[in-house]
Symmetry: C2
Subunit: 439 residues, 2 copies
């Protein structure tokens, strides 16, 4: 029996039968206790040990590619039987190329600077006490995500490198694939000196395990849900643990009166069409009334020529004939497709107000050569990423030079926007004294 | 009818009668809508306007001291009738001195640097895009607290200065006092140019209003509960809004083998006795076995001479005769009184392990002259504040040079330890481009 068979049998034993809530509770109790113990050790684990572990994991991914494909085949077969779409099955599949990409990502994370242990802002107080901050790991992080199995490897290695123990709960479609990834990471990690329990997968697909995990705020410090809106809302509603949400993006481009025309057309086209199916693609376009008839119409033609369906408000339709009308809800929609909602505004302030009302606070861009307008847009748009004169598609950990990302936070607290290694740490206060007493 | 009478009558109308949940819902709907609109305006409110508003509030506190005392007298009378303890009544009372202290605090916050608008870490990427961060306000902050009315003024002014709209929900014992403070802040603020709704008090003492507020994650960005454990647990359980918790402190001092004896005795005495009733006072003492019989016994004598009751573990009782035995639960207790739990450990690592298990992750200190031990303690103790060779009593926004604090976070995310103005802000990513497109 493989480990994943064992996991499945635990899953079955913990199924919705009499006594199941007790066995799920005990399962999560064990899992979180191991994670907490691992987190204590990982918090001060030397960088060299963490890096050696990540490289050993990468090597084991490459050496065991055949086992990956075997376990992945079980998920694919079950997925076909369950009638998953071709797109879903494609996301689920672990080809040799994708296994190599996971291994390479582990090596890239090993090469990044260790964020843990940084000491910053140490300043002397009048009494001679030196007060500053130290960057430390958060502790135990739970990640609840949907089908792509590469998230298991990516999230696992980012947590390890930042000194956190991780509990992973992937989608049930990828259960066998995730189990083999987690097992190899654990075995290779332990061999390299990582504490037992550094990377753990919830060993059941029973959803009750999620509910149980979300109330263990005594042992889990942070929950990161990645997936659809209903998954995230379920997590927020049930969690007593702090949650950093990763909602999707309804990103806006605002073309100002003072926009460079060529730049504006290129940025809108790039933001919409370079990769339409991702969260930082543009979904909405606002054009200043002074340039709507000229530049606005030209941008619309460019988009149409690239196969984009434009859904326009009445003002734009009056200026550019033949456009389809936007419905009210289109302004709040993330299409993830070659569709864009477009409209006319009276001013940059009107654009800011509209974006703050209808946008998703993810990534929004202005195209303008007017300096005060650019600075006002940067300050007033209430989004994780606000750009001047570039494509919304740059909202990405790699593009920001973070080396990697665990996702893009649409929350305001702790981490906002792309989350890299540093965002998986926290700062504590430290003080160096020479016997100071409080008066 | 005074405004607070009006508030009370709203509270009554919204009492636990048929239809009450509907009227509470509508009350919180109005309150949060006003707060959200105010937050939008406050986010880019000029520093000069915010400072002028804070100074106007201070002036109005001084001018209306008589009204303060009149409304406060109503709370005191109700408190006496309800049988509040003398200590509770004392906390509730607004003397002229306390009103002056609230006014002075407003002026101090006006004098602090505005954290909003700071641009940091802007670095060029290989494609010429300059990526950095901008410090911005969080939005709408809800503060749920217990009886001291000065929290209304302190929390209100810190939120305003950091560009946030605030919704305050104080204890019912201080309802009239809080109402007059909030009303004066609002009137003075509006006169100085602050948006309507910047500082609002929940105008009812009905607890259902808290439940309703805690689920408005569409309009409220952060909840800060300040008070007893049961209040905080209720908030965590019911909130769909991110919460930053302010639990109390079970602070440890560890006296290492390499401690300077005089410094160790002074630090323990100061940490325990300088102000025993506060969260950063020491509650527990650990002594290395090599110095337990000598230095340990001397520290115990010093504490006893200062009137401190020492509850000791078996090892310490064997070395220092006549000590009372500590019960197991004493190690997890915050006494807030002249009592300390004391024991012997075999090593600094054992002390770290013990503190991480029994402490409250608030503030812990080591006394040692050994450098590797000091650095290991700093890195491994999982607390908001970790100190070397000074009293735990320095865990305080004022002592850290933050100018003020809204409380001491015992959470790990976003803000850990004393929270000042900067901790009431968040960072968004910004990018300055020249037409960059994603390849």
């Amino acid at each position: 029996m493989t480990e994943s068979d064992a996991l499945i049998s635990i899953g079955r034993a913990a199924g919705p039968t009499a006594g199941s809530s007790e066995s799920i509770r005990s399962l999560i109790d064990d899992l979180t206790a191991r994670a907490r113990a691992a987190a204590r050790a990982l918090a001060t684990c030397p960088t060299a040990v963490k890096n050696r572990a990540l490289l050993a994991m990468a090597a084991s991914f490459r050496a065991d590619a055949a086992e990956f494909r075997r376990e992945n085949a079980r998920d694919l077969e079950a997925g076909r039987a369950a009638g998953l779409s071709a797109a879903m099955l494609d996301r689920l599949e672990l080809t040799d190329k994708r296994i190599e990409a996971m291994a390479a990502a582990l090596e890239q994370v090993a090469a990044l600077d260790d964020p843990v242990g940084e000491i910053l802002d140490v300043k002397p107080r009048p009494n001679g006490l030196r007060v500053g901050r130290m960057r430390v790991s958060i502790g135990v992080i739970g990640i609840i995500y949907e089908s792509r199995p590469n998230v298991t490897a990516d999230a696992g290695c980012l947590c390890v490198k930042s000194g956190n123990a991780v509990i992973l709960r992937g989608g049930k479609e990828a259960f066998h694939s995730n189990a083999v990834i987690a097992r190899l990471m654990n075995e290779a990690g332990r061999g390299a000196g990582l504490p037992e329990g550094s990377v753990q997968l919830v060993p059941t697909t029973d959803r009750a395990a999620i509910g149980e995990l979300l109330t263990r705020n005594d042992r889990v410090d942070l929950i990161i849900p990645r997936g659809g809106k209903s998954l995230i809302e379920m997590v927020v509603k049930n969690s007593t643990i702090p949650v950093i949400k990763h909602y999707d993006g309804n990103c806006f481009v605002y073309v100002d009166r003072a926009a460079d025309p060529k730049m504006a057309a290129e940025i809108v086209l790039n933001a919409k069409t370079q990769r339409p199916g991702v969260c930082n693609a543009a979904e909405s376009l606002l054009v200043h009334r002074d340039v709507a008839a000229g530049l606005g119409a030209e941008i619309i033609r460019t988009l149409a020529a690239a196969g984009v369906e434009v859904r326009a408000d009445e003002r734009l339709r009056a200026l550019v004939p033949g456009l389809k009308a936007a419905a009210a809800e289109d302004w709040d929609t993330e299409y993830l497709d070659l569709i864009i909602t477009a409209g006319v505004v009276d001013s940059a302030d009107a654009a800011i107000e509209f974006i703050n009302t209808h946008g998703s606070h993810h990534t929004d861009a202005i195209v303008t050569d007017d300096h005060p307008t650019a600075m006002r847009f940067l300050a007033a748009v209430d989004s994780a990423c606000v750009f001047v004169n570039c494509s919304t598609r740059f909202s990405d950990g790699g593009e920001f030079g973070m080396g990697c990302e665990i996702g893009i936070s649409t929350d305001k607290l702790h981490a906002r926007g792309p989350m890299g290694l540093k965002e998986l740490t926290t700062l504590k206060f430290i003080a160096f004294g020479q016997g100071q007493l409080r008066q």
